[in-house]
């Protein structure tokens, strides 16, 4: 089970994402933004960071990196893709997920351990959780406010595509406290908080994030 982690110029969390894949029992593969192909990986993680310096808009330039044509194509074909933080921004810019992420409403960078509730445990990345399960994982973003028009938000809620929501105080002004969403098929998930930083007791606040990575291993074995 090979999980590719894309490194863009300015990616920060690619090493932690690869480590999380390994801790979960998968085989992490490095993918470079200039690669044309995905080296036969079974799933893809777009990590956090500041790809291309967040120039223009966060994720806007990464979305046109050579590797992204293959990622978009694979995602449409059903390959599991997880975008974390900047990766979530890239997925929105790629139109693989609806909505967009804008600057936090309070204008400050937020960095803290964040409580979340998993609302959809049927996606490729959340099958290892129970719906309604609470977790605590790190959150760190400057542009983490999830926005979309009301029609889109209603549709996401109606179709169960709100994957995770913030619990307690809304950390960044995301509409309806949305922390993560999925595409219709449930193979593409975008998440603002960082499960890859919560997979080992030594360095994470919890190990609550690990199930994102074990879930996808199970999902691709079953598929």
């Amino acid at each position: 089970m090979r999980v590719g982690v894309v490194t863009f110029p300015g990616s920060l969390d690619d090493v932690d994402a690869r480590r999380a894949v390994a801790v979960a029992g998968g085989e992490p593969m490095r993918l470079w933004h200039a690669d044309e192909d995905l080296r036969y990986v079974d799933a893809v993680v777009l990590p956090g960071g500041f790809s291309y310096g967040d120039y223009l808009r966060a994720g806007a330039i990464a979305r046109f990196a050579p590797v992204m044509s293959s990622v978009v194509q694979a995602a449409r074909g059903g390959t599991p893709v997880l975008g974390i933080c900047n990766g979530f921004q890239v997925l929105c810019e790629s139109h693989l997920l609806p909505g967009a992420l804008i600057r936090n409403d309070h204008r400050k960078f937020v960095c803290r351990d964040q409580e979340l509730v998993i609302e959809n445990s049927t996606t490729a990345w959340t099958g290892g959780y129970a719906a309604g399960q609470h977790l605590v994982v790190p959150l760190k973003n400057g542009e983490g406010g999830y926005v979309a028009d009301d029609v889109t938000l209603d549709r996401l809620e109606g179709e169960g595509r709100v994957v995770a929501r913030y619990v307690g105080q809304n950390p960044n002004g995301s509409y309806r406290s949305i922390a993560g969403v999925s595409n219709e098929r449930g193979n593409v998930v975008g998440l603002m908080p960082h499960p890859e930083h919560a997979v080992e007791e030594l360095t994470g606040p919890t190990t609550d994030g690990l199930a994102f990575f074990t879930s996808v291993l199970r999902a691709t074995v079953d598929a």
Binding site: L56, E93, I102, D105
Partner: protein
């Protein structure tokens, strides 16, 4: 050579925290009477040769694809006279 200007603004219903920060700073500096600020982006595109309708359509395509995110932003395209 001609110049085409693309202005990109957040849609009115999208919160603009940067504009809000600027709006709050203005009265502190004594610039009164400004009730709201929205911050946008301006792109100046230098175009080779004449700006034809075809070229403008191409630039609109670029504005829609890369320069703006239509989910949260609107844009206008205009030719700047030399």
């Amino acid at each position: 050579m001609a110049r085409v200007v693309v202005d990109v603004m957040l849609k009115p219903e999208i919160l603009d925290p940067q504009g809000k920060a600027v709006a709050q700073a203005l009265p502190r500096l004594g610039f009164d009477g400004i009730t709201a600020v929205r911050q946008g982006k301006r792109f100046e595109l230098e175009v080779d040769g004449e700006v034809t309708e075809e070229r403008l359509a191409q630039i609109r395509g670029a504005a829609e694809t890369l320069l703006s995110n239509p989910v949260i932003e609107d844009f206008t395209v205009r030719v700047e006279e030399a």
